[in-house]
């Protein structure tokens, strides 16, 4: 520390001058030079003491002492490598895990969105209170959009957008890329400026306007080689030429980073009050400054209700419930709503790990303090006050915890770097997770808190000396012995057990709920099934093209090696399209009065149900003859029967007036089990299945399903090859196995369960190490006493029981406290749980059992050491 040195050097110079002047004066008085110098020094007094006094008077004195203590701490660490390593590793694990979780929580939940004034950006959606909607996410209808956005007061504007995938042709072979159709308003609302060219003009939204496209900076670099002349060139999307009008800035993205280009989206205007069609989309708004979302919400709700009677289609999309209500939520919250509960639980869990680590290190400090009692005693005897000793010990623990924090930072860094590979693909905003100054500051803060938490109590005990006892030569002179110190050790053990059991219960609940989730029957058999989405260009005669394509593709696919069944549908599990039919069911069928039925309307080819492995509950599936039969055959699912049909056999029921969008004599030929199209954690929806036929082609998205006898990945080349061969304009994407899609759909709960289970394992290990070290210490301290017991006839069993009992008493108390704590806290996890209650008996039973078993194992080694106590030892040690 140069600045301490400089000031001390200053003082030394001053003192030198002083003595020199005095010496000269002494010489003038007639002393010989040597004597003059000695006299001058005598007059001055003790130079060292003066310097020390001056130093103590300095404002930075405490800092100098701190540096001194830190140096001492480093020396002590070097002398006790084992102790230092144990502390460092424990703290590095705790702080590293916390820093990594902090950077995730900050990046995903707290970092502002990368748009100007992000606080005023809101997602707007509508719904009916209490209704279940078949939509996968909250959306807005064109009814409300126009009623509100034509004259908004609380918002500056609303923009509609829908994620879309486009088939891009003209580069290599047709490829599918992620894009979005957006209102011209979107870019101004986000506050974005183009890097070159322009964004959309409002007139470009209109039907029949010139087709235009805005490119992302990345797409422009990749496909156009960052050519400034790209503006004005054409890009063929879905078979139609679009003019490139602009390029977005490099860092711009919306709604997420996968989106490579944008096309204009026109929100349909109603032709009149009789217009029965409704379109839905995502909507983004910008609040006027100072307006709360609640105020915007009430204005929006009033606008939505001003529309008057809503068309039936709106009920089909939004479900039936209370009067229509508009929801206005901050864009940031809405973006991360799916992961927030899990992140909060992970943050709490990792905090518990750090607390356990601190308790462990505190115990290490206590044991370590005993070993260096003599050193501290000498310091105390030489006049170091209690405060001074506490300070020295605290500086030591802080030095260790800061070193541990530095290690932890490296660990956290690598964890955060590995995160994109570990976390689920659909985890929002993962790209905003960085290790930056904030993470550094967090790690530093966590280190200091950990240092004080783990060091304070041991330091206070260690610095308490009974000098008289010390003088008498008793070994237990310090506060590290006796009932109060052993109570502190016990309390630390109890705390560790309690925290560990809480964490284990939390992890157990998530693991159990994940196990429940993956055991859910989605209504299909995902093993050995290949699924693919195929898109044909819109141009020409799309219906005829689609029919011919499917006929050729399915016929040839079914002849492929190992193919058991093949079919196609407009929808399939995890497909991106949703088709809903609404129709009137006659009173005869409902057993009550005519009812408006709403159902997912599947249009499928024969072979579809077999390929997916749909469960037949009643009647039969489609046959090859059905498409040519006079009577239309349809299938319904169990939920449809439950919601709409009167009791009795369903297969064979006929509908003269049609069924679904079918307008001919129709017969329900079979009932199948409910298919959870959008994921295992969703509710079953009523479904009807119609056959694909000339008047009802599968357009836009063709979901191809192929069942094989072996690994379905084996037919990927076959399917890709057939698609290319049969229609050169066709583009296939998401070619993968159904099992992969199922697994990906539960990746978030799996991630949360895995991470919390890892934290639980860490907590368990730390608690076991803590228990082991304290018991080992106790046994070594009680060697004499145990020897006496052995001499007086205690058996090995007695001694083992003695030590085990002592260790397990703390653990059991901790378990009880932990169970109570968990019972109070797990209901906060309710939103994360699936099919498991927050007070799940299995989790609440298994976690304590596991901890108890590990605690027994941790106690066993010290207990056996105690059993080996030698009666002669008793004599030697006294």
């Amino acid at each position: 520390m140069r600045w301490f040195g400089r000031r001390d050097a200053d003082l030394r110079a001053e003192i030198r001058t002083h003595i020199a002047i005095e010496t000269e004066e002494n010489i003038e008085r007639g002393m010989p030079p040597e004597e003059a110098r000695r006299a001058a020094e005598r007059t001055f007094g003790n130079v060292g003491a003066v310097r020390e006094q001056v130093r103590e008077g300095r404002a930075t004195y405490w800092l100098e002492v701190l540096v001194q203590d830190a140096r001492l701490a480093f020396r002590t660490m070097r002398r006790n490598k084992g102790f230092a390593a144990a502390t460092l590793v424990t703290l590095a694990l705790g702080i590293g895990a916390n820093t990594a979780v902090f950077s995730i929580v900050y990046g995903v939940l707290l970092r502002p969105l990368p748009y100007p004034d992000p606080d005023r950006l809101v997602r707007v959606s509508e719904g009916h209170p209490g209704a279940t909607s078949p939509l996968r996410a909250p959306m807005l209808s064109n009814l409300t959009f126009h009623a509100w956005s034509d004259s908004p007061r609380t918002i500056e504007g609303i923009a509609a957008y829908n994620g879309r995938r486009y088939t891009v042709t003209g580069f290599d072979e047709p490829s599918r890329i992620e894009g979005a159709a957006v209102s011209a308003q979107l870019f101004p609302i986000l506050g974005a400026r183009p890097a070159s060219g322009r964004f959309f003009r409002p007139d470009e939204e209109a039907e029949g306007a010139d087709l235009v496209v805005v490119l992302s900076h990345g797409f422009w670099r990749q496909q156009f080689g960052a050519d400034p002349g790209a503006i004005g060139r054409t890009l063929v999307l879905d078979g139609r030429a679009h003019t490139v009008v602009g390029v977005a800035p490099p860092e711009f993205y919306f709604p997420d980073r996968d989106v490579r280009l944008w096309t204009p989206y026109a929100v349909r205007r109603r032709a009149g009050p009789d217009d029965r069609r409704v379109s839905v989309f995502f909507a983004l708004g910008r609040l006027r400054p100072g307006v709360t979302p609640e105020r915007a919400q009430s204005e929006g709700t009033a606008a939505a209700r001003s529309v008057g009677p809503r068309p039936v289609a709106a009920d089909l999309l939004f479900g039936k419930g209370g009067p229509v209500t508009v929801r206005v939520r901050s864009l940031a919250d809405e973006t991360t709503a799916s992961v927030k509960p899990a992140l909060v639980i992970l943050a709490a869990g990792v905090g518990l790990v750090l607390l356990i680590a601190c308790a462990n290190v505190a115990n290490l400090f206590l044991s370590r303090g005993v070993a260096r009692e003599r050193e501290l005693a000498v310091r105390a005897a030489l006049g170091a006050g209690r405060g001074r000793l506490i300070q020295q010990l605290l500086v030591e623990s802080l030095t260790l915890s800061l070193a541990g924090g530095a290690l932890g930072l490296i660990l956290g860094w690598s964890l955060a770097a590995a995160l994109p590979a570990l976390a689920p693909q659909d985890f929002p905003r993962l790209e905003d997770v960085h290790m930056d100054g904030r993470a550094l500051a967090f790690a530093a803060l966590a280190s200091i808190v950990a240092g004080v938490l783990s060091g304070l109590a041991p330091a206070c005990r260690g610095a308490r000396f009974d000098l008289a006892a010390l003088h008498a030569g008793t070994r237990s002179a310090s506060g590290l012995h006796g009932p109060r110190a052993s109570r502190l050790r016990g309390a630390l053990l109890v705390t560790e057990a309690a925290l560990a059991v809480m964490l284990l219960i939390g992890a157990g609940l998530l693991v159990r709920s994940f196990a429940r989730l993956v055991r859910v029957d989605g209504g299909y058999d995902p093993t050995n099934v290949l699924i693919a989405r195929v898109y044909l260009p819109d141009a020409g005669a799309p219906a005829e093209r689609s029919r011919q394509f499917l006929e050729a593709l399915l016929a040839r696919a079914r002849r492929g090696p190992g193919v058991v069944a093949a079919g196609a549908g407009n929808m399939a599990p995890f497909g991106s399209s949703t088709s809903i039919a609404g129709f009137l069911l006659p009173a005869r069928e409902t057993g009550d009065r005519p009812t408006m039925a709403r159902a997912l309307e599947y249009v499928v080819t024969p072979g579809y149900a077999e390929a997916l492995g749909l469960r037949l509950r009643e009647g039969r599936l489609f046959t090859e003859q059905d498409p040519r039969a006079a009577t239309q055959a349809v299938l319904v699912n169990q939920e449809f029967v439950r919601q709409y049909l009167s009791p009795g056999p369903v297969a064979g029921r006929r509908f003269e007036e049609g069924f679904g969008s079918e307008r001919r004599l129709t017969e329900i030929v079979g009932v199948i089990g409910d298919v959870l199209k959008n994921g295992l954690d969703t509710q079953p929806q009523p479904e009807i299945y119609l056959l694909e036929r000339p008047g009802r082609p599968i357009l836009r998205e063709i979901n191809l399903v192929v069942r094989t006898s072996g690994d379905a990945m084996g037919v990927v080349p076959l399917v890709r090859g057939l698609v290319r061969e049969i229609d050169a304009g066709a583009a296939a994407d998401a070619v993968t196995t159904l099992a992969t899609r199922v697994s990906a759909s539960v990746s978030q709960p799996r991630f949360a369960a895995a991470v919390l289970a890892a934290f639980g394992g860490l907590a368990l290990a730390l608690a076991a190490v803590g228990l082991y070290s304290v018991l080992s210490y106790n046994v070594s301290q009680r060697r004499g006493e145990l020897g006496v017991r052995a001499a007086l006839g205690a058996t090995r069993g007695d001694l083992v029981r003695l030590v085990l009992g002592q260790g397990l008493a703390h653990t059991t108390l901790g378990l009880a406290l932990g169970l109570a704590g968990a019972a109070a806290l797990t209901r906060l996890m309710a939103r994360l749980l699936f099919g498991v209650t927050p007070l799940d008996v299995v989790a609440f039973g298994a976690a304590p059992a596991l901890l108890l078993a590990v605690a027994c194992a941790a106690c066993l080694v010290p207990a056996r050491r105690a059993a080996a106590a030698d009666p002669a030892e008793a004599l030697r040690s006294e």
Partner: protein, 117 residues
């Protein structure tokens, strides 16, 4: 003069003496020590070293200020001078001291000639 005739300084009085010696201008540490000794007619014993913690204390309190300078015999020395608040403090302390001396003197039954106001 024998050492037994010298008087060890009371804690706190040294501060006052230092302030007093600086009334007529800046001095370095050695100068202050010898001035105190000389003006007290060699009665007051100042352990020269004890000056420095006191000087630092006064400087931190803002009663004196210091800077490096060159002494009469061409040595680099740190010079101390009185600040405004130091001057005020000295006046106040001198008054208190006179009262104390008077009071102690009366208790000890000394003649009152030394009493000043």
């Amino acid at each position: 003069m024998r050492d037994t005739d010298r008087i060890q300084l009371l804690q706190g009085t040294l501060d006052m003496l230092i302030l007093q010696t600086l009334v007529f201008g800046r001095r370095h540490g050695h100068g202050i020590a010898t001035t105190i000794q000389r003006t007290s007619e060699e009665v007051l014993l100042v352990d020269h070293g004890s000056l420095y913690p006191a000087l630092q204390r006064l400087e931190r309190a803002g009663l004196i200020a210091s800077e490096w300078g060159t002494s009469d015999n061409n040595r680099r020395a740190r010079y101390y001078r009185l600040t405004r608040s130091g001057r005020k403090k000295l006046v106040a302390e001198t008054g208190k001291w006179a009262k104390l001396v008077g009071a102690v003197g009366r208790v000890l039954g000394l003649p009152r000639e030394e009493e000043t106001s």
